[in-house]
């Protein structure tokens, strides 16, 4: 077991709901203001296209997923790629919806 020196943060990459913008903005705050150099944003577009630095980021570091809406597309992308996130953040607005929807 290795000491973690960097954490990847993957915010919802969507564009249809305001909460996806909230997820992105929160990620900028974490990676640029709160934990610069210790966190890095996962770029879903680059990851899907197999950019080696992006693939290495999620393979070698724990990832926090910020799901933007109840579709949970952030979590789903990791499922498609057969990766497990270290943790998932679900906004309060979404988490208060009925469990069947969430």
């Amino acid at each position: 077991m290795e000491i973690v020196n960097k954490v990847a943060v993957y915010p919802c990459g969507g564009g249809g709901f305001p909460l996806s913008s909230v997820a992105r903005y929160a990620t900028f705050i974490v990676t640029e203001d709160m934990l610069p150099g210790e966190t890095e944003i996962v770029d879903a577009a680059r990851l899907i296209n197999g950019m080696s630095d992006e693939v290495e980021l999620v393979e070698n570091h724990p990832t926090i997923i910020i799901d933007g809406c109840a579709y949970q597309c952030g979590s789903n992308l990791f499922r498609l790629l057969n990766l497990k996130p270290a943790v998932r953040i679900l906004s309060t607005v979404i988490s208060q919806l009925p469990p069947t929807f969430v």
Binding site: G16, A45, I48, G50, C73, N76, L77, L80
Partner: protein
């Protein structure tokens, strides 16, 4: 002539141009061509959300690539769908001589100007598809390829033809600008 056009802005986050692409798509969808355009949400598309699958299959798609990595173009390639046109942000910036800041969280004035220019070019292309009676679009079927994140993509999967600075069309897709127009 088509009823609506799908806009697919680069879904990235690491580059300023990715934010420019997203803001440009909102400008087209909300201000320039409201009710005539739709924005593709890539995570929803990958999850199989019906409306995102339908908009990609049934309507022509204008992709907005923010960088030569061509992530937007390549996602469509991985999906087995050919875009109707492509807007390439670096060329739009060069053509209109726009220099912009590196801030990506919120766009500064230069990048905001670039977003407007990209939106204008995107609306010009989408508007041609919407208004040119000679333009036709054949529905496509998504055939997702199975090698997500495998980095074995061709350099130019659609054999793009340059139409104007920053505006491209796949070789086997129909012209959208009316014949004889200034565009």
């Amino acid at each position: 002539m088509v009823e609506r056009v799908c806009i697919y802005p680069c879904g990235g986050i690491k580059k300023t141009e990715a934010t420019v692409a997203r803001i440009a798509a909102y400008l087209v969808n909300e201000d320039l061509l409201p009710g005539q355009t739709m924005i593709l949400c890539v995570p929803a598309f990958l999850r199989g959300v019906e409306e995102d699958l339908v908009m990609l299959e049934d309507y022509p798609t204008v992709v907005i690539d923010c960088h030569s990595e061509n992530c937007a173009t390549n996602l469509l390639y991985l999906s087995g769908v050919t875009p109707a046109a492509r807007i390439f942000i670096p060329e739009v910036a060069e053509h209109f001589n726009i220099s912009y800041e590196s801030e990506r969280r919120e766009l500064k004035p230069g990048a905001q100007q670039l977003a407007q220019a990209v939106a204008d070019e995107t609306a010009r292309v989408a508007g041609a598809m919407l208004n040119n009676k000679a333009y036709s679009y054949e529905k496509q079927q998504i055939k997702t390829k199975t090698y997500l994140a495998q980095a074995n993509l061709p350099v130019d999967p659609f054999d793009y033809q340059k139409i104007k600075p920053g505006i491209y069309r796949p070789r086997n897709m129909p012209d959208f600008f009316p014949e004889g127009s200034d565009d």
